[in-house]
Subunit: 104 residues, 2 copies
DNA sequence: TTGACATGCAACCAAATGGTTGCATATTAG
DNA sequence: CTAATATGCAACCATTTGGTTGCATGTCAA
């Protein structure tokens, strides 16, 4: 879970996920295009994303395809966002009431 | 948006949000209890959370109460998780098909 | 009013992070 | 076979991050 949050914290990695979301199964070289950094830097990001189980790879000859794995993001939605969502209205009203209490 | 992801990336900060979720409006000293770090370290985390708009504070005399703001988390759920969620089943089936293609 | 308490601010430090360069290895095309 | 291509691995570097200590400031209680 912590690895997922850390992986999602970097804009470059979110961009990589976005690009895989747009077209799944891209190779490393594909993903390097339009990235303003070296191939090795992209590789490091992909390694982190894979460690967080946000993507899986399939080696095919000298190429390596990358596939998005939406499960961890779903887990965050379920276990974390949902929890906070349920208390949303209540927390908002509490906040409002407490703020108003300060300004007579 | 990036500030929110970065803020959520640290386990200490998620713990702080959890504790505010359990009991809203706690003071800095409250939040420092059971934290294995100095008050100043906790302060730094709270500053980041506030910069990400994940909590708001109300100063009352010499105390400062902290209130959870669930809006940014909701925005992540809406704009990011939702997008990936919608493609979940499709992506999973694609992944499965591509994996099977590799193992005859 | 004075001492205790709650918080703020700044300098400093070690470790993690995000990037680079250079080279090695494996596969495919000609 | 050989050259080009796709990727892997490791050392190195600057900046950010997460923490510390020390001290300053403001507020409440006795």
């Amino acid at each position: 879970m912590d690895l997922v949050f850390k992986a999602l914290a970097d804009p470059t990695r979110r961009q990589l996920l976005d690009r895989l979301h747009a077209r799944n199964g891209q190779t490393l070289n594909d993903l390097c295009e339009q990235m303003e950094m070296t191939r090795q830097a992209v590789t490091k990001h992909l390694v982190l994303l894979e460690a967080a189980n946000l993507l899986s790879t399939v080696k095919n000859g000298r190429e390596k395809a990358h596939f998005l794995n939406p499960v961890p993001i779903n887990e965050i939605a379920e276990r974390w966002i949902g929890k906070y969502e349920r208390g949303r209205l209540k927390a908002l009203s509490n906040l409002k009431r407490n703020l108003e209490r300060q300004e007579p």
